[in-house]
Every structure is written in C-alpha cells, then in structure tokens.
C-alpha cells in the first residue's frame, strides 16, 4: 500500500485585539506616552511597577499612584542568545527583572547589551524610550546599562510634550501565532483520496455506519474506524438554508444555499454549497451530484467539489435519507 500522505501546512492564528485598559493600566500607559513611569501603592505600602489593579494580598482595589524613577537595579536576568521572531529585540539581549528607583517590586522588560558579560544582578539600567511613545508597554523600547562612571542623566527624562491630553484608554494588541498543522491520519487519507477525485469514508466495525468525512472514530461507539468505503458523488439533501451573508474567504455571492448532504452509502451528512438551481426549488429529499473543479485544480481539499447541483432523479422519502446504499435511490 502506498505511504499515506502526511499533510502539513503552516497557518497563522491571530487578531489585533482592541483592549480597553481601565483606569489603572490606562494611567500607567498614559504616563509612558509622556515618558513618565507610574507605580501604585499596595495595601502594605510597597510601590508596584507596573501598577496592579488589585492588591495580591488583600484583594483591595488600588488607586494611589506614585511616580518612580527611570533608572533601576537588575534583580535577575537571563540571556537570550537566539532571539525568537516575536521578541522585541532581534539581536542577543537580556530579559531582566528591574526594580526602578522608588519601586519596591521589580518589573520585567528587555535589556539591550552588547554581550552577556555586561549583565549582572545589581547592575544599574536606564529606560530607553521609543522615538514616538504612544501609550504601549513598548514605549519603553528597552533598558540600557548605565555606566557607573558617567552621571545618570537625571532621574527622569525631560517629559515629552504631550501630543494630546486625553488619557490612554485603549491599546491595540496584535496576537498572532504561527502553527504548523498536521492533519490526522483519517482526515489525511480522506484528503489524499479526494485529491484523486475519490470520495472515501470509513465504516464503523461495530455499528457498520459509514462516516464521511472520516475522523478516525465512530463517535457513537467510541471505536477506531479503519475500513475505507468508496462512495459515489451523488447525494440527498437532508436539510438546507439560504444564506444572506458571505462566508469568510469564499467568493460565493449571497444569497446562496448551503445544505446538509448525505452521500449515497454514507450515514452522516456534511455541509456543502448547492448551485445551478433556483434557491426556492431546493427541498429536502432532493437528489444532487457534485460538480468538481477541473482536475488540474484538485488539491487536498473538500472544495475540489465546487458545489452540488440538482439531478433528475426522484426525491428520497425523508425516512430513507441517510440510509441509502452506495448504489443510490431509484424510487
């Protein structure tokens, strides 16, 4: 038997989340936009940077802001020899826990340094601001080591003239993650067959029902399915709806019909498009057949079948839908 196709494909999952900050986080980010850093006083008097909304020990809502310095001391650090694509710095750098002057609790951010040897717990660092702070944690572009010999450039940078006075209440947070997806064995087998223009389901060894598209198990029995069953590309409409809104990434224009179709010989339905008919003529029990894309366009995808269209065969009675043999229904 031929080696099963292993189907892998990279994909990205992501969205640019629009996060409202609330007053505490907002105050901190507004400060960053103005090149100032604010912490908050905890129930026990300690100053926490960045500010927490709620005290970790008493659960009290916190609201006493305290401005802190823009230099601090490294309390711990690590060296990222090979930065990851998502990291804020793309040459080797350090992550560090930095306790800013005036704060009692360290914050985590990155430290730019030429070499690992420059880093040390207890070393002094200073904020390096982004060129155009906008109210985001990366307004602190990174921290840089302060040479003890040189005078610190004052506890705070001169405040950038605020571009507008309205406080930051929102951030746009892009969260995009990259994955490499590998299809399961049963779906891969199905897709390898459909690439050849063949529809193939799997039969449950216990209840003998045929599942297409197959997932490797009979959900009702909880047993693995192995036996392949080749099915024709004729089907019966089990149910349907007329859709007025477009499907993401699909060129089909509303209003269009999607239907739950049961292939001859299968015992479950799948959703697909119906076309080459009046929407109003679609009905339960209607016989349809697949219209395939040109063979040259076939890939590992259900949409090798462009849609199903009605064929001239008698309707299937409702009671027989999902129970037809592979040979179909001739009334």
């Amino acid at each position: 038997m031929a080696q099963p196709d292993v189907l892998s494909q990279p994909f990205e999952l992501g969205f640019t989340y629009t996060r409202s900050t609330g007053p505490v986080v907002g105050r901190f980010l507004t400060g960053l936009r103005d090149r100032r850093i604010f912490g908050i006083r905890a129930s026990d008097g300690r100053v926490i940077v960045p500010p927490m909304e709620y005290d970790p020990n008493t659960a009290a809502a916190l609201d006493e802001f305290v401005e802190v310095g823009q230099q601090g001391t490294i309390r711990s650090w690590c060296w990222v020899k090979r930065p990851r694509a998502a990291h804020p710095l793309q040459q080797p750098f350090a992550w560090a826990m930095i306790q800013l002057d005036g704060a009692d609790v360290p914050m985590i951010h990155c430290v730019a340094a030429a070499a690992e040897e420059e880093l040390a717990t207890g070393a002094r660092v200073q904020v390096k601001w982004a060129d155009e702070p906008r109210g985001f944690i990366t307004d602190i572009r990174c921290f840089e080591l302060v040479d003890r010999k040189t005078t610190a450039e004052g506890a705070t940078n001169p405040a950038a003239p605020a571009n507008d006075d309205s406080p930051v209440t929102r951030i746009d947070a892009p969260v995009y993650l990259h994955y490499n997806f590998t299809a399961g064995r049963a779906p891969a087998r199905f897709l390898a067959r459909i690439k050849e223009g063949v529809l193939s389901g799997q039969r449950c060894p216990r209840c003998a029902n045929v599942y297409i598209p197959p997932r490797g198990s009979c959900p009702a029995c909880g047993v693995a399915t192995e036996e392949e069953v080749v099915l024709p590309d004729k089907a019966t409409v089990q149910s349907f709806t007329i859709v007025a809104i477009p499907i993401p990434n699909n060129p089909i224009k509303p209003p269009f019909v999607i239907a739950n179709l049961v292939l001859d010989g299968a015992n479950i339905s799948f959703i697909h498009l119906l076309s080459e008919c009046e929407n109003s003529e679609v009905h339960i029990g209607q016989r349809v057949q697949a219209v395939w894309k040109p063979q040259a366009e076939w890939g590992y995808a259900m949409d090798n079948i462009r849609y199903f269209r009605p064929i001239d065969e008698p309707d299937v009675p409702v009671a027989m839908i999902g129970k037809l043999p592979v040979t179909g229904w001739e009334g």
């Binding site: 996060r19 609330g22 986080v25 659960a59 299809a183 009702a220 149910s239 995808a301």
Partner: protein, 387 residues
C-alpha cells in the same frame, strides 16, 4: 448524600457591545464584587474561585485565570477554569456548586465572562485550521437547517420565531442590565429585518456582548444565615453527545432530553410546565424557544410552537410559564457568561430579587445552557424552599 448548597449572592455587569471603561480584570471584578456585596461577604470569606469562559481566542489571553487571580482575591486559594463551549456558563455554575455539594468547600465564588468586543465573535467562532473539510457557514449556518426541519415536522407558522424575538426583547426592556433595550420592538420590525440564514432574521438572533456574571454559592448552614433569601440548588445536571453521528436527532437532541430528565428527577419535577414558575433557557436564535419547549418536556412533540403562540411563555401576556424574563440570550450574549446568566437569573427569581422582571411568587425556577452543535447541556433547578 450531597451537601445542600444555595446561591446567596449574585452579581452581574451591564451587558453592552463594548465595555470600553474596564480592563478584562476590571470587568470580571465588577461582577464578583457585586456578588460578594449581594451576599454580604468579603474576599476572605471565599474558599475557592471557579472561573469559566468560552474559547480563549475571544480575548487572546491564554488560560486567563492565571492573570485574573489577583482581581478575584484568589491568591493562596484554589482556582479552576471550566470550558465547555457555549454551555460553559452553566457548567461552571455546576462545577462551582459541586465544590460545596461535595462537602469539600463551604463558600465559593464563581465568575464567568466574555469581553468579546476585543476581537470579533464571528471570527473567533470560525477560525479554521488548514485542510478543514467543513464549510464554515457560521453558527446560523449550522442551526438554520435544523430550525427548518423543526418547522417542517411541526407545521409551525412562519412567525413563531418572530413572536419569541419580540417577547424576549420586551422582557429585556424590563431588565436594566440587558444589552438590547428595545421596548418598542414590533412583530413587523422583526419580520422586516434582514434574513441572515433562512429562516433566521437579524432581529431573531442574539447580539454580541461584553459582560460578566458571578455567584456566591455556600453550604446549607451558611445559607440560612445569609442576609438575603437563598436560592436552594434543587438539582443540577450535565450531558454531552458527539457533534455528529449516524442517526443523530438534531432537532430535539437526546442529550438535552436526558439532562432535563435527570435534573427534574433530582428536583422532584414531574410536569415542568406546572411545577416550575419560570425558566431561563438558552435561546440564541428565537426558534429555539419552541424547540426547547419540546426538548425540555414543557410541551409535547410538535406542540412547542403552540405554547409560544398562546403567550404562555410571556411575562407581559401573563403567561403561566414565563421564559427568559431577563431578556434571555436574545437580549444579552457575552458568550462565556450567557449560561451562568440563565442560572443566576433563575436564582434571582426564586429569591424575589428580579426587580421589574420578577415573576410574582416564583418559588421554583430552571436555568439552562447549551453549547457546541447543541451537544453540551447544563441545567439546574433552584427553589425558594429548602428540599
């Protein structure tokens, strides 16, 4: 055998398209504080916190209980996060209750939420992986064919869904927390709204909301001492079935029927329509009211739509079994919280605490949630009287 438990505090947020005034922690905190205040308790009184919400993709924060622990006063305590798709609000309530009913905890706080305005609900529900063999037609694309099958089998007239859409929004207009405030909604307006997935029209579908819902659940002796009347948990049940299998009954899923039978048995209910005073039932598309009336045994098969059309489920029409007096999912839908809102609103009714949407003299109420391809069900029955 099970320790008796009761709801002694309920807190909700206003449901809105976008809660732009709070962080995620702020949203959750608001409901939690409201629940604690309602119960006359403080953070130190809580033994454990149980959080629930729908997929993390909605807010893009992975396993958010890790970040929310400080907001919920949970440090040094147990914290869990439940995720059972759309029924999660209900199942979270049941898991929280089981903390007390098992005898292992005395007072727990449970919170469910969704801040789905941070992304887009339709996107989050339909993020397909490569090689997906399924056409992505949205939730409506899944449910509309099932609704059509119900209409075909029952012969229901076309406007049953319209009636429910109006009824639930009129109920919602009595509830200051509800997202959709449509006190002047009419049958005509619903009928003329855009058809999305035939037969579901725009105004027959639920909104997308931000919001959170919280409850404090305590053991029997603590409940009797609480400042406001408790809602005693008289029964709770969950059932699941596969999304798809040969011969699956999709219009009236077996899991729903079995779950209802279980919770009725626990609560001593033999005739839900008569025994219950009201119900908060998960109806995100209006036709699901008549369908669930049948699935849950309030009406015989094929007769649910008659019950709806008779006004029996309407508070405004003086019906004998009002459904969704809070406005239901059709009026507010923060997905992760919607199930708990049903459970909490049922509890409000039997505590006499439902304000302008109170059913007079309600003493026994049902909360219901479902999720996935109508395959996950969670239900509870709460009462003013101790069993």
């Amino acid at each position: 055998m099970a320790t008796l438990a009761a709801v002694v505090g309920i807190g909700q947020t206003h449901y809105k398209t976008r809660r732009g005034d709070v962080s995620i922690a702020g949203l959750v905190r608001e409901a939690a504080v409201n629940a604690l205040d309602d119960a006359g308790l403080g953070w130190d009184d809580i033994d454990a916190v149980i959080v629930g919400k729908a997929p993390d993709m909605f807010e893009g924060v992975i396993m958010p209980e890790i970040y929310l622990t400080d907001a919920l006063g949970c440090n040094g305590k147990p914290m869990m996060r439940v995720h059972t798709a759309g029924s999660v609000g209900g199942s979270t309530a049941l898991v929280a209750a089981s903390h007390v009913q098992s005898g292992m905890f005395r007072r727990v706080l449970t919170v469910t939420f969704e801040k789905q305005s941070e992304s887009n609900a339709m996107w989050a529900l339909s993020t397909p992986q490569p090689f997906s063999v399924h056409l992505n037609a949205g939730a409506g694309g899944y449910f509309a064919p099932i609704i059509r099958e119900y209409m075909r089998r029952s012969g229901a007239p076309y406007d049953v869904g319209i009636k429910v859409a109006v009824k639930d929004r009129l109920h919602g207009a009595r509830n200051p927390l509800a997202h959709l405030q449509l006190p002047n909604i009419t049958m005509k307006e619903v009928e003329e709204s855009m058809m999305l997935w035939d037969p579901i029209r725009f105004l027959e579908a639920c909104p997308s909301s931000d919001g959170a819902c919280a409850m404090v659940i305590v053991a029997e002796d603590l409940a009797t001492r609480s400042p406001k009347p408790p809602a005693w948990i008289r029964g709770g049940a969950m059932r699941s079935e596969p999304t798809m299998y040969a011969g699956r009954e999709e219009v009236s899923p077996q899991a729903g029927r079995d779950c209802a039978a279980d919770v009725y048995r626990q609560a001593g209910i033999t005739n839900p329509r008569k025994d219950l005073d009201c119900a908060e039932i998960y109806v995100p598309f209006s036709w699901y009211e008549p369908m669930w009336l049948e699935n849950l045994g309030f009406a015989a098969e094929g007769e649910g739509w008659k019950l709806t059309m008779s006004g029996a489920t309407s508070l405004d029409e003086g019906g004998d079994i009002p459904w969704n007096c809070s406005g239901g999912v059709l009026s507010s839908n923060p997905i992760g919280a919607s199930g708990m809102i049903r459970f909490a609103e049922a509890a409000r009714q039997v505590r006499g605490d439902a304000g302008a949407h109170q059913v007079e003299g309600a003493r026994l109420a049902m909360g219901h949630a479902y999720g996935g391809g109508a395959q996950f069900f969670a239900m509870w029955v709460v009462g003013a009287d101790k069993p």
